[in-house]
């Protein structure tokens, strides 16, 4: 049984919990988040012939990265940065979070979910942003936890990336 620890990181209210909720059927109530600061769910995916169990750690977002909890990302095999496309600053703030997180786990496979793509009217990111803000060198996928768009693809992309990564 191959398992990978995947952490959802991002500023509060960007939709981390909703993305996980959209992706898996949870056994733990969302209440855990506020008490323990993390909720864990799992999802079994297939990478090639290999079944992989993704253990999804949904971390409670804070309004500043100061407090993003380093110990929870320890040992992670993959990261999902979540930003809210209707709030440009949530993308920018990810850079700081990235610094902090990679300080703990090093360079590991990551993907960035530009969430709430269903809110096209309020979308603040140009579709062909020349120099997009936010974490460097991270693959981006537009998602909507509401419609499910890009959600499956995000997790699948990351699962495959962790399998390619020779370090993890």
């Amino acid at each position: 049984m191959l398992q990978k620890k995947i952490c959802m990181v991002g500023v509060f209210g960007t939709g981390k919990t909703c993305l996980v909720q959209q992706y898996v059927h949870s056994i733990f109530s969302v209440k855990y988040l506020s008490t323990v600061g993390v909720k864990i769910d799992k999802k079994e995916v297939q990478v090639g012939d290999q079944p992989v169990t993704l253990m999804l750690w949904d971390l409670e977002g804070r309004d500043s990265n100061r407090d993003v909890n380093g110990s929870y990302v320890r040992g992670a095999h993959g990261l999902i940065y979540v930003a809210d496309g209707t709030r440009r600053e949530t993308v920018e703030q990810l850079s700081e979070i990235q610094d902090m997180v990679t300080g703990v786990v090093g360079e590991i496979p990551s993907v960035m979910a530009l969430n709430k793509i269903d809110l096209t009217d309020e979308w603040q990111l140009g579709s062909s942003d020349e120099n997009p803000p936010g974490p460097n060198g991270v693959h981006r996928i537009r998602t909507s936890a509401k419609t499910g768009e890009g959600v499956e693809a995000t997790f699948q992309w990351l699962a495959e990336a962790t399998m390619r990564n020779p370090v993890t």
Partner: protein, 588 residues
């Protein structure tokens, strides 16, 4: 060394020898020094490779000689260690964890042992009495004994064991009690580490401290952390210290045996499957009855109770068997027509021998009727004639062919029979050959019953009715022919009954309808009876057996309709009586 100048002079070598001696005297010390130096130089030229070859040996050699080497190296090694630990403490902790753990625990265990013993004693004191009580409860309620014990005596039960990768919180291996299924062990594993992180972050305890136990209802989760893995066990009930020790042992063994797998772990749990037996070692159920260390003076109870039960059961069986044996013998002795001569009882089989009257009940049937199994009984019976009154009666009943409709009693040697008795019995009683024990049979209060064939014949005769025209005593031709066959049937009955030593009588009842004066009617009835009797006589019926009764209107045949009643009473009807001979052969 002494110099002898004459030694070699004789053979002409004197100058050479002298020179050598001189040289020795002059440069001897220098020469020796030279030699030493050259050896020293050779030694200096020992290469690094050669040194590598010899170093372990050399160290061992020196080490065995004195402690100088250790003393010399000590400070250097200390410095090196201190430096190494300062740079990477985890490495060092990982390395010494399996060694240090047991040593520390051993010291603590020593101190705890006394306390544990006294607690165990207290628990075991009440063992035996309670054990018996539970057995009774199980027996009374029908609940299986183990369930009762668990209900009362579950000390603790390790239901689940999680081996968790410390860094990632991923589940390496999980085992659970056989009757338990835990579908989301991997999630629980993750949450266990997350909670650890949460506690660490929230309370910022001292370095390395952690949440070791927490309780949920009657379950306790006990987490032991090693450098690379956590071992969490879920315990129901009160976990003792020994369990913690086992948990620590297991975790250390895992670190030792799976060191490289733990270090190289990247999500694949398969390499940890061999750890299952180790983890399963932690799954245990302990009841007060299975807790070790029962005090010596109560230990005998462990075998004494079953032994007592076995003895009690055997004794009980023996007593029961003896009682049943006694009852069997008494029953047989009381049985008429059975005489027990010899009886012996083995452990399983009983054998009885004696005498038995042919009409007596089978001994096995007697015992069965008394509720005693005949399976174990073997009997040897000689025939004899019993004069026991019950047997005499039974024998007579049988030989006379009496049925249950007859009541039979014996007074001195006369058998009194009453009730309904087959006609043949009368004949047999008369013919003599009475069974032993009986000198005479009194059948005066018995009424004979005909054999079936004769009885139906009699009934057909009784049903016959000869009818007349009003006021007439003449018979039509049809009635006359009918009377002829009737007469032959009558003769047939007579002969049959006579063959059984009895005789019949035929009562002819003459009747009239109610019209007309009584005198006329009486006369008419008489004429009708006479007429029929006359015709029967003509057909060869013995008239001495006929009884003529002209009742006229006195005892009419019943019918609801008056006309019909009048018609059927213008008639002669018949009734057969059978009279058996009551005399019996006496004094044989």
């Amino acid at each position: 060394m002494t110099l002898d100048p004459h030694e070699n002079v004789a053979n002409g070598e004197k100058p050479v020898a002298e020179f050598a001696a001189l040289r020795r005297l002059l440069v001897g010390p220098e020469q020796r020094r030279l030699q030493e130096l050259s050896e020293e130089i050779e030694a200096r030229e020992l290469t690094a490779a050669e040194l590598a070859d010899h170093l372990p040996e050399a160290i061992a050699l020196r080490g065995s000689r004195d402690r100088q080497l250790g003393r010399a190296l000590g400070p250097t090694i200390e410095t090196a260690l201190r430096e190494s630990i300062r740079r990477n403490p985890r490495e060092m902790a990982t390395a010494i964890f399996p060694i240090l753990g047991p040593a520390i625990r051993k010291a603590i265990a020593e101190a705890m042992a006394g306390l544990v013993r006294s607690i165990n004693n207290a628990v075991d004191q009440s063992l035996s009495v309670r054990g018996l009580k539970w057995r009774v409860e199980a027996w009374r309620t029908g609940v299986p004994y183990p369930d009762i014990v668990i209900k009362h005596a579950l000390v603790y039960r390790v239901e689940q064991v999680f081996l968790v990768h410390a860094e990632t919180g991923l589940l390496l291996e999980h085992v659970s009690a056989p009757d338990l299924s835990v579908p989301d062990a991997d999630l629980i594993s993750g949450m266990l580490t997350a909670i650890q992180d949460f506690v660490r972050d929230s309370f910022r305890p001292a370095e390395g401290a952690m949440l070791r136990t927490f309780s949920v209802g009657e379950h306790t989760v006990q987490v032991e952390a090693g450098p690379q893995a956590l071992l969490a066990i879920v315990v129901r009930g009160q976990a003792p210290d020994t369990l913690l020790r086992r948990q620590q042992d297991t975790l250390e063994t895992v670190h030792l045996e799976f060191a490289s797998q733990l270090t190289n772990f990247s999500g694949e749990a398969l390499p940890f499957e061999p750890a299952r037996p180790l983890l399963e070692g932690c799954l245990e159920t302990v009841l007060t009855t299975t807790q070790p260390g029962a005090p010596r003076r109560l230990r005998w109870l462990r075998w004494a109770v079953p032994l007592f039960l076995i003895v009690a059961v055997i004794g009980g069986l023996y007593v029961r068997s003896a009682l049943r044996w006694g009852r069997a013998l008494a029953t047989l002795r009381a049985e008429p027509g059975v005489v027990v001569v010899d009886a012996s009882r083995g452990w399983r089989r009983w054998s009885i021998s004696g005498m038995k009257d042919p009409v007596a009940r089978e001994p096995s049937a007697v015992l069965a009727a008394a509720g005693l199994s005949s399976r174990a009984l073997s009997g040897t019976w000689e025939s004899y004639l019993s004069l026991d009154s019950a047997i005499v009666i039974a024998r007579a009943t049988r030989s006379l062919g009496l049925t249950s409709t007859a009541a039979v009693s014996l007074r001195s040697d006369t058998l009194f029979v009453s009730g309904v008795v087959p006609l043949e019995a009368f004949a047999r009683a008369r013919q003599g050959g009475l069974p032993p024990g009986i000198a005479g049979v009194d059948l005066r209060s018995a009424s004979p019953v005909l054999p079936a064939a004769l009885e139906s014949l009699r009934q057909s005769i009784d049903a016959e009715l000869v009818q007349f025209e009003p006021g007439s005593s003449e018979l039509p031709q049809a009635s006359m022919t009918r009377l002829t066959t009737f007469a032959s049937r009558l003769r047939q009955l007579n002969d049959g009954v006579a063959a059984l030593g009895a005789s019949t009588r035929l009562v002819l009842t003459g009747r009239t309808d109610p019209t007309g004066a009584d005198e006329t009617n009486t006369a008419l009835a008489q004429r009708r009876v006479d007429r029929v009797a006359g015709l029967l006589a003509l057909s060869g019926v013995d008239t001495s057996r006929l009884i003529l009764d002209a009742v006229a209107t006195a005892r009419p045949l019943p019918a609801d309709d008056p006309a019909e009643r009048a018609r059927i009473n213008r008639s002669v009807s018949f009734a057969v009586t059978v009279s058996a001979d009551h005399r019996t052969a006496r004094g044989q």
